[in-house]
């Protein structure tokens, strides 16, 4: 036994022998729902954006180092792969942003009923997708 929580898993069967108690159903047997899926996505985008923050600081450091270093950084950002990664980060940012607002509203006690949780979930995905497309249209077409 490595963990105190293991003690709760020990039980006895009808013959008196020790058995390992069954675990309650976990993630893989539940049908994915918008509530759980968006919650998981919030965490995944949060972790991904942490890596994005590291890239942001490297980009700033390149600019502070030399004009050569910054043009290399800008070339990487402007390459096909760089743009695909940046597009992913744009969506991750807007998703985490919109769902973060949803979380802050829940913290304030707003929108807790199941129908409104579902509606706000759909709204968050639509808004995040819309904002991502809008920013990329502005970036690629207007600027």
């Amino acid at each position: 036994m490595q963990d105190v929580r293991e003690a709760l898993m020990q039980g006895r069967n009808s013959t008196g022998g020790t058995v390992r108690r069954p675990l309650s159903p976990h993630l893989q047997v539940y049908r994915p729902q918008i509530t759980s899926t968006l919650s998981i996505l919030h965490r995944i985008t949060g972790v991904a954006l942490s890596a994005g923050a590291v890239l942001l600081s490297l980009w700033l450091a390149a600019a502070a180092t030399s004009s050569g270093a910054f043009s290399v950084a800008q070339a990487i950002v402007g390459s096909i792969l760089g743009m695909i990664v940046l597009f992913g980060f744009t969506f991750a940012l807007f998703y985490h942003f919109c769902n973060g607002i949803r979380h802050l509203l829940w913290d304030a006690g707003v929108g807790f009923e199941l129908p409104s949780v579902h509606r706000s979930g759909v709204a968050v995905v639509v808004a995040a997708g819309g904002l991502t497309v809008l920013v990329w249209l502005v970036g690629l077409v207007l600027l």
Binding site: V54, L56, S57, L60, A63, G78, G100, I101, G139, L143
Partner: protein, 125 residues
């Protein structure tokens, strides 16, 4: 009724020290700060699309841009460190490994946060 509080705690009569919700509050406050700052960051990246270092220097030399970038970086790294802490606590069961990963995460977040701050300051002055 059995009293579960310590004698000192009862004598002080201060209740909980209100520090239990510090992590929760800090995460929400930095989230709130990051709402406008994230939009500013997206706008800045759009404006600096394909910029040369000279243009970047001119941008960051504007006091408002320097201040907003510093605020962004500080709130961002504080917020992400709080979030990653919860992820680590949730998924790493062994206490030793959890502590090691937590310290490595804090060190990495601190290092890149400082790198960003120094870079913004250097660009601004």
């Amino acid at each position: 009724m059995r009293i579960m509080r310590s004698a000192l705690g009862r004598a002080r009569g201060m209740g909980a020290a209100k520090s239990g919700v510090h992590h929760w509050w800090a995460q929400r406050l930095t989230a709130l700060a990051l709402l406008p700052l994230a939009l500013y960051a997206v706008l800045s990246v759009l404006l600096l699309e394909g910029a040369s270092q000279a243009e970047m220097l001119r941008y960051m030399a504007e006091p408002w841009n320097g201040v907003l970038f510093l605020a962004l970086v500080i709130a961002l790294f504080y917020h992400l460190q709080l979030g990653l802490q919860v992820v680590i606590e949730d998924y790493i069961r062994s206490e030793g490994k959890r502590l090691a990963v937590m310290l490595a995460m804090r060190a990495t977040a601190g290092f890149f946060g400082l790198l960003a701050i120094i870079s913004v300051l250097k660009l601004s002055f």
